[in-house]
Point group: C2
Chain length 146, copies 2
């Protein structure tokens, strides 16, 4: 075998990197219909699952830094989807809460996951296993990264 030079598609990290972009493109028209970007949508998902979180909570869930979240949350606040306010118990923390408008947006986004699942062409069972594999790889990689 004469010295196979690897291509991008040979790398698991590139597969994930490029698949992420593919999902982004798929979501974009759906999300534009409700005026969100993909990372903003993730914040909304986190808040729909559990309202009233600190910036740090959201960062832990979404694996993002405050330097990413703060400007993003300000844009969502400006859109009227959530409120940001210092916690009186601990003034260092900022509590993020859905507004009525932000909570109501959940129904508009209800069908997006099934649209996207259909687009993958994978069965629910195959998707579940693939997701679990990716999450456990993520854990291992994050563990190794520090």
């Amino acid at each position: 075998m004469p010295h196979a030079v690897p291509e991008p598609d040979d790398f698991i990290c590139f597969a994930i990197y490029s698949a992420g972009h593919a999902f982004n493109r798929l979501y974009k028209p759906l999300l534009e219909s409700i005026g969100l970007t993909y990372p903003q949508y993730l914040v909304m998902i986190a808040l729909w699952a559990r309202n009233d979180q600190t910036v740090g909570d959201l960062g832990e869930t979404l694996l993002l830094e405050s330097s990413t979240l703060t400007p993003l949350l300000k844009r969502l606040e400006k859109s009227g989807l959530l409120s940001r306010s210092r916690d009186p118990e601990d003034e260092r923390q900022v509590r993020v809460r859905l507004t009525r408008k932000g909570a109501g947006m959940r129904t508009k986004a209800r069908d997006f996951p099934s649209c996207v699942k259909a687009a993958t062409g994978f069965s629910n069972e195959a998707l579940r296993r693939l997701r679990n594999d990716i999450l456990s790889m993520r854990s291992a990689v994050l563990q190794a990264a520090d």
Copy 2:
């Protein structure tokens, strides 16, 4: 079952999105040692596999737009790793070629993939299957995205 509200980790797209960030964090210290960012490293991989590509070729391989590649390639050119020049046969195209320095960098990056594979904690066989699943999902999603 009382109305399960999905969390970010329940979404295959978030699993991929966050796993991508995890790989980025793992690669960062490795790549800093040779002065590259992760997307720059991908361009170098593409050129190590096949030298002398157009911007469009690279975009097709890496699934990136010229609006992303042009500034990135200019930075790599400024670093002395590649050259950019209009194709005399077709002046619309820009041919991207490795310099001696850029070609020589391949040996410095030779061990990165095995470092990263070790960090995932997956066997070669499991990684290969996971990669293929992700690539086929990427194809399906890209197909659906247009």
